[in-house]
């Protein structure tokens, strides 16, 4: 009844495995949770994963202070409570937080602008990790840079903690239009775009030159980010642009995030081409988290079926009060370009 057993070497942490993980959460909702009890509610509602956090973005906004990776006891408690994947956020550029999260066993790291930035120049070189990363992007250039750095999944940044969907919509429009416009670019123009996108990695070197008070150009073989020289970065970014142009979509799974608070918000983002939704403060800052969580799960899957949407959007109680995104004092989306 059985056949031969093949126990040849196993491969861990490959790009296929990282991207594959992102494929498995498509069509689902990833919910911010701050403790085991909330994680259980999220899982029971049908969340496809939870994001372990110390405070939801709305509270980070309200309370201020430095926002860091969540406490490890808290993440561990959540890891032990649910069987769905557990993600956690680390600060932009904070290799050590990411390494700790990887060692703890979280399934995906969100290198997130919702937390205070740790590095003013660079994001993490995510290729150095065995577990996959998700990163936010406001437009194509940010997405291409994050993909170059090894992000397995992308999301809009939106404006976290506001409950206002306008910024997520803006970012998705910018992404879609950016990708569509690639079709109208010649190879030469694409090269120029790749150079412009790559130049963001030169900020540190340029600042050092400024301090030298000499004028010096960055050369092709100058190492500007981690182990990569300027030419390599330009070439790799051009390749990602070419692939994006050909596919007419990002070569990574792309979710909506930042300001999604209702089932209708989730359906709106899905109709714009997002492949799933992150909900932060929207669930546990509402009057009936259980019901709202379930409704957002249904709306994300059945985004194109108005009859189901109408049913699930009923009797949800009060949504999070929120803040108009244009009125917020600290704009989180500007973190990390």
């Amino acid at each position: 009844m059985t056949n031969t057993i093949d126990t040849e070497g196993k491969i861990y942490g490959s790009e296929t495995l990282k991207k594959g993980f992102a494929s498995m959460v498509k069509g689902g909702v990833i919910m911010d949770v701050t403790n085991a009890e909330q994680a259980k509610i999220a899982e029971d509602a049908g969340a496809v994963a939870v994001m372990a956090l110390e405070r939801v973005p709305a509270d980070i906004r309200a309370e201020g202070g430095v926002a860091r990776m969540a406490s490890l006891e808290k993440i561990d408690e959540i890891l032990k409570t649910v069987t769905i994947p557990v993600m956690a956020k680390c600060r932009i550029g904070h290799y050590s937080e990411a390494r700790i999260l990887e060692t703890l066993g979280v399934d995906m790291v969100d290198e997130s602008e919702v937390l205070t930035m740790a590095d003013p120049f660079f994001h993490i070189n995510k290729k150095k990790f065995k577990i996959p990363f998700v990163c936010g992007a406001r437009e194509l250039g940010e997405a291409v840079r994050r993909i170059f750095e090894g992000a397995a999944m992308m999301r809009t940044k939106g404006e976290a903690g506001t409950g206002d969907v306008i910024e997520a919509v803006r970012h998705m429009h910018m992404m879609n239009e950016g990708i569509a416009q690639l079709k109208n670019l010649s190879d030469e123009e694409m090269q120029k775009v790749a150079v412009n996108y790559a130049n963001k990695y030169c900020k540190l070197t340029q600042e050092v030159y400024e301090k030298f008070e000499i004028s010096k150009e960055i050369k092709e073989d100058d190492v500007v980010f981690d182990e990569y020289n300027y030419k390599y970065i330009k070439d790799e970014i051009f390749k990602i642009l070419e692939e994006t142009k050909k596919l007419q979509r990002l070569p990574r799974v792309n979710f909506a995030a930042g300001g999604i608070a209702t089932p209708a918000d989730a359906a709106l983002m899905m109709n714009m081409g997002c492949e799933g939704v992150f909900v932060g403060s929207g669930i546990f800052k509402s009057s009936d988290p259980k019901k709202r969580a379930k409704a957002i799960v249904e709306a994300t899957s059945h985004y194109n079926e108005p009859k189901i949407l109408k049913e699930v959007a009923k009797n949800l109680g009060e949504g999070m009060k929120g803040t108009e995104a244009s009125k917020v004092i600290e704009v989180l989306q500007n973190r990390g370009i």
């Binding site: 009844m1 059985t2 056949n3 031969t4 057993i5 093949d6 126990t7 040849e8 070497g9 196993k10 491969i11 861990y12 942490g13 490959s14 296929t16 495995l17 991207k19 594959g20 993980f21 494929s23 498995m24 959460v25 498509k26 069509g27 689902g28 899982e43 509602a45 049908g46 969340a47 496809v48 994963a49 069987t83 769905i84 994947p85 990887e102 066993g105 979280v106 399934d107 995906m108 065995k130 577990i131 996959p132 379930k294 799960v297 249904e298 899957s301 059945h302 194109n304 079926e305 189901i308």
Partner: protein
């Protein structure tokens, strides 16, 4: 002919892409469609994709709301009509009778442990051998993502094993895989599946 891919959640487009590739290679006239529900089912084969099984269980709808048992009854009915069904990873979990010692009215009589290898950092790729018929084995590069482990197969044949555990099981026209052929470019398994129609 028409093949349906259950499209409530998970890696649906990956299956659609691979099915279309296999159809092309076999030079068959088969349409691949995404299914949003199981009412008015009129396909000649069904694929349940990878994703989160707990989420998929909650999203099964008919006009009276969601109910996983109705979905399992539906699967029973179409398998009686000898319609081939393939489930990968989460799809296999939905087909199993015993999942983490909870019992379901599934089509494959086996004991399955969810995330049996561990978390994402324990996800892996490995070469395995497929045995589609008695005299021939074929190499396949299998991708396991937070994969379930089949602890025991009570009924059906084992099409592939890895480290002493079944990773591909077939009972009549129903196939369950713990890995993801949809994440590769190898159409072998799809061609085998399409030939069951």
């Amino acid at each position: 002919m028409k093949i349906g891919v259950f499209a409530l959640q998970g890696d649906v487009s990956e299956h659609v892409r691979m099915l279309n590739n296999a159809v092309k290679e076999l030079e068959k006239n088969i349409n691949v469609v995404e299914l949003r529900g199981f009412e008015n089912f009129n396909c000649d084969a069904l694929i349940i994709p990878g994703g989160e099984s707990t989420t998929m269980r909650k999203l099964m709808h008919d006009e009276n709301g969601n109910d996983i048992n109705k979905f399992l009854n539906f699967l029973g009915k179409i398998s009686d009509e000898e319609i081939p069904i393939l489930g990968t990873c989460a799809g296999l979990i939905l087909l199993a009778k015993n999942v983490d010692n909870k019992f379901y009215d599934g089509l494959l009589d086996m004991e399955v442990k969810r995330n049996g290898y561990g978390r994402q950092r324990e996800s892996f790729e490995a070469d395995v051998c497929l045995k589609f018929n008695l005299n021939k084995t074929e190499k396949f590069h299998a991708i396991f993502i937070r994969a379930p482990v089949i602890e025991k197969v009570h009924k059906g044949e084992i099409l592939a094993e890895f480290e002493g555990k079944a990773i591909a099981v077939k009972d009549k026209n129903v196939i369950g895989l713990t890995f993801h052929p949809e994440l590769t470019n190898d159409t072998k398994i799809y061609k085998y599946f399409l030939n069951l129609i």
